[in-house]
Amino acid sequence: MAVIAEPAAAQVKRSSLWSRAFESRNFLGAMFMVPAIAILILFLAYPLVLGLWLGMTDTKIGGVGRFIGFGNFVSLAKDSVFWLSVFNTIFYTVAASIVKFAIGLYLALLLNERLPFKSMIRAIVLLPFVVPTVLSAIAFWWIYDSQFSIISWVLIKAGLITRYIDFLGDPWNARWSVVVANIWRGVPFVAITLLAGLQTISPSLYEAANLDGATNLQRFRHITLPMLSPIIAVVMTFSVLMTFTDFQLIYTITRGGPINATHLMATLSFQRAITGGNLGEGAAISNAMIPFLVAAILLSFFGLQRSRWQQGGRD
């Protein structure tokens, strides 16, 4: 051993620090991680930290801000428009997510059956997802128009109502209107993802359940739902996050009106920061969304995390 070890040791001594570093697993590992870390810092960590910092300053557009601690949050706590936007955001998220899930699951189950023109129906289901958000928002804006609304027109022609509905002029009408637009926009994502999940369930499980005596409803309750629950958790977490932070639809259809009735936290933040010039206050509103988002993620993480049956075997 000693005879072999000695020349090897001598060789190591001779080689440079550089080449030795490249033989070290730890150094190489760190090197390979540098690009990923750089991207994360540049595009995730920096904006996040900057946003957090801005929220603690009174920065205005064109001016250099001063650190004021939690000053922005204190004033927001007394701001009724802010609290209205919090309410609107929660209402918007909860109402839209529940309906998106229900319709999405229904469509996914439908598309999982043998039915004629399946691929065409699937393409149609995907359409709302393909159209740019702003474009579909403009279409909805038009559908909800107080004078040219096709819905009002149809209902009047059918003799169901006598005057045009003021979709976007009344606070609750406006809230429900944007919720419907969001549902229309979000259903394809839920439906297609749940469909992908359904297709991973082996048909022989349904056959076995059939022989075991399960009715259609029992098969759904005891096979489909539990087998689909991990996918449901992922889809709904994403859906909630995307709905909670929605901006485009609201900003295009209502701009937060009427009288702030559809202002979400994201649109209010934009209005205060960019339109109003108060970058610090706008950032603070954005930062106020973080606890809600973290709560939503934790809920899905702990409530719907991978159950025991999905984890690998131990033997």
């Binding site: 082996s202 056959e207 076995a208 059939n210 075991d212 399960a214 096979i223 049956w309 131990r314 033997d315």
Partner: protein, 353 residues
């Protein structure tokens, strides 16, 4: 327990008929194996029996009841699937008790029956595990447990052993047979493996291209195959076939390729010159001075026996010897088939003569 009657059953997918009128009587308590190559329709027939495929024409009855239009869950059958189809989100006990739970059985009764089935299959220590945490053989046993718990009229097995390794397959084969001897429930078992069929069945049904080629006990099929297909399918290594003619010249002989003469015990009446296929099982060759000339090509010892591949009249045949001959490739030997147990088939129809 019940008898099962399959009468002139046909099945078409669109215009394509896959089963062309199959009739199989199954007695109460019998272990019947449907065997045949891929695509012969055996699994389709089993699924029709289970109610997972509808019946194009003909009738299937379980007991006295025609079940053509009876829902699977009302047929009182249990099926073991090839991939086991265990519910991954349920423990072993929940998997086994699921059918009882759906029938609103009390939890006492469920746990009693699950426990009993678990004892029969030695699954008791695994009752709280999930299918993911089980080995292939254990999953297989859980799938059987799920069937036993229901105490059905008929057990259906759809190639249940094909996902197991060779050693486990042999062990499970014995286990399933033992289970049947204990429970005596009518069983229909589908496999493509003729060894499984031979070892387990009371009655084998050999299927090919949507028809029944032959049914009978394992030894009937081995001793008296009705046609060339069954002769070639049953037995391992497979039967050797040589094409040639019958010559009746005082004594009946078979004249094979390149003038090879092989012995016949007797020739069918008025068959001189008739083109036939001469079938001889590998285990029915002996080395004898009055045998046909053969040149050894390959020797494959397996320990208990030796498989010898040799050329007879230019055709390759395989012979199996339990005694340990010292053969080398290139050796010239004399191979003699036992004329008492050779098989003759009509060359045109493949039917036994």
């Amino acid at each position: 327990m019940s008898s099962v009657q399959i009468r002139d059953v046909r099945k078409s997918f669109g215009n394509f008929e896959v089963l062309h009128g199959v009739s199989i009587p199954i007695e109460d308590g019998q272990f019947v194996v449907l065997v045949g190559p891929s695509g012969c329709g055996k699994s389709t027939l089993l699924r029709m029996l289970a109610g997972l495929e509808n019946i194009t024409s003909g009738t299937i009855s379980i007991g006295d009841r025609v079940v053509n239009n009876v829902q699977p869950k009302e047929r009182d059958i249990a099926m073991v699937f090839q991939n086991y189809a265990l519910y991954p989100h349920m423990t072993v006990a929940e998997n086994m008790g699921f059918s009882l739970k759906l029938r609103n059985a009390g939890s006492d009764e469920i746990s009693k029956r699950v426990k009993r089935a678990a004892e029969i299959l030695a699954l008791t220590p695994l009752l709280d595990r999930y299918p993911r945490q089980l080995s292939g053989g254990q999953r297989q046993r859980v799938a059987m447990g799920r069937a036993i718990v229901r105490d059905p009229q008929v057990f259906l097995f759809d190639e249940p052993l094909s996902n197991l390794d060779a050693k486990l397959r042999v062990a499970m084969r014995t286990e399933i047979k033992e289970l049947h001897q204990r429970l005596k429930t009518t069983t229909v078992y589908v496999t493509h493996d003729q060894i499984e069929a031979m070892t387990m069945a009371d009655k084998i049904v050999v299927m090919h291209d949507g028809i029944v080629e032959q049914m009978g006990t394992p030894l009937e099929l081995y001793d008296k195959p009705e046609n060339q297909f069954v002769a070639g399918f049953i037995g391992s290594p497979a039967m050797n076939f040589l094409k040639g003619h019958i010559r009746v010249n005082g004594v009946a002989t078979f004249e094979g390729p390149n003038g090879v003469k092989l012995p016949l015990k007797s020739a069918p009446a008025a068959s001189d010159g008739k083109p036939v296929v001469y079938g001889v099982r590998p285990e029915h060759f002996t080395i004898a001075d009055d045998g046909a000339d053969a040149e050894i090509v390959v020797v494959e010892p397996t320990g208990s026996e030796t498989q010898v591949f040799a050329k007879v009249g230019g055709e390759q045949v395989v012979a199996v010897f339990r005694e340990r001959h010292q053969f080398n490739p290139g050796d010239k030997v004399k191979l003699k088939p036992d004329p008492d147990v050779i098989h003759l088939f009509d060359e045109a129809t493949g039917k036994r003569l």
